[in-house]
Symmetry: C2
Subunit: 188 residues, 2 copies
DNA sequence: CCTGTTTCAGAACGACTGATCCGTAACGGC
DNA sequence: GCCGTTACGGATCAGTCGTTCTGAAACAGG
């Protein structure tokens, strides 16, 4: 019978994700990953195949944590109330070091392609969910019939990325109320 | 008489900036910096003091390039026409690899503090310029008297950051017209 | 030509990096 | 206890990293 593992995979992944949010893929070094996760090097390679595998696992876990936000946009009925709930939730969260997905966009030319493909899919999905709710809102008469929901979804996606970035350079400066007020100007 | 330099400092800085936009501070390695700039290692250390100095010079030059945008917001009279011109200009530019300043935000825990302080000042100045024009617009009656110009400036700053990030993961997807339409909904 | 100075090309250096390796520990089954 | 298996701690490895160093090149002046 083999020696039992002393690490818990999910805990390792979660801690690694926290470090990757702060330092990025390239900046988070193995020595530090080993330290914050408590995982020994042999096990890191055995369990994840190496740094890339650990990053991918951390990213996947992080996106799963964020999926509670996406779930809001998937509620029926689609429409403005979903968008309002989405932003209420998003803005209730703290991103002092940014968001792993958004941060990783800036490492496009550094991370493995497979990893970046995950980010691209995440961004496209997010935008599609926003667009779906905007389209439903327009159909229901919550938005003007002339509203360009495609464009609006794109801009809101960009705004989401920006909010997570803003929180890094000016922490605590953009409040839920302020963003909400802007959105009400948009969504009417 | 000393041997003449074969490099042109501004050209070196500009090329280094382009690489730093793509790879970031940590990801842009000296070997590649030497290759794309054509600057030999001795001169790099002599002229810039090392990688950090080159990055700071590249960032400063980059921000100077971007200052033409800031200049639009400093025109008199302050108001909505400045904002419209600002966005028309911003959105006429291409940021396929992002913006060096915004990209560097995600390297907060990696770059030297001095460098990050430059980013913080840039962000704060940008926001202040936006705020100034919004406040003038409100005073002139172009915006409702109840408009929260502080909050709006913050959100627009975040949006700017987001637009530069969006262009990396979904190039060419957010058009000037679409962003402009959203702004018209906001600025009325 | 020689001299002094600065810049060049690129090698060498020491530290750092992700990955591999080795001896030992921990376990159940016999 | 021994055995086989897997995970541990941490040393080692080969390559890469930013920085320093060295000999040669390029120049004007004497």
């Amino acid at each position: 019978m083999a020696r039992p593992r002393t690490y818990v995979r999910d805990e390792v992944v979660s801690r690694a994700a926290d470090l990757f949010v702060r330092k990025g893929y390239e900046g988070a070094h193995l020595e530090e990953l080993v330290r914050v996760t408590g995982l020994n090097r042999f096990s890191l390679y055995k369990e994840f195949g190496g740094k890339e595998g650990l990053f991918q696992a951390a990213l996947d876990a992080y996106l799963e944590r964020m999926d509670s936000l996406g779930a809001i946009l998937r509620r029926e009925p689609r429409g403005l109330s979903n968008l309002r709930a989405f932003y209420a939730d998003l803005l209730s969260r703290d991103f002092p070091h940014g968001c792993l997905a958004v941060n990783t966009i800036r490492e496009k030319h550094v991370v493995p392609e497979r990893v970046f493909a995950t980010i691209e899919r995440f961004a496209a999905d997010s935008e599609e969910q926003l667009r779906g709710n905007l389209a439903a809102a327009r159909e229901r008469g919550e938005l003007a019939a002339t509203t360009d929901v495609d464009g609006l979804a794109r801009v809101l996606t960009a705004l989401n990325m920006g909010l997570m970035t803003y929180g890094v350079v000016a922490p605590g400066r953009a409040s839920a109320q302020q963003v909400g007020a802007l959105l009400e100007r948009v969504l009417r």
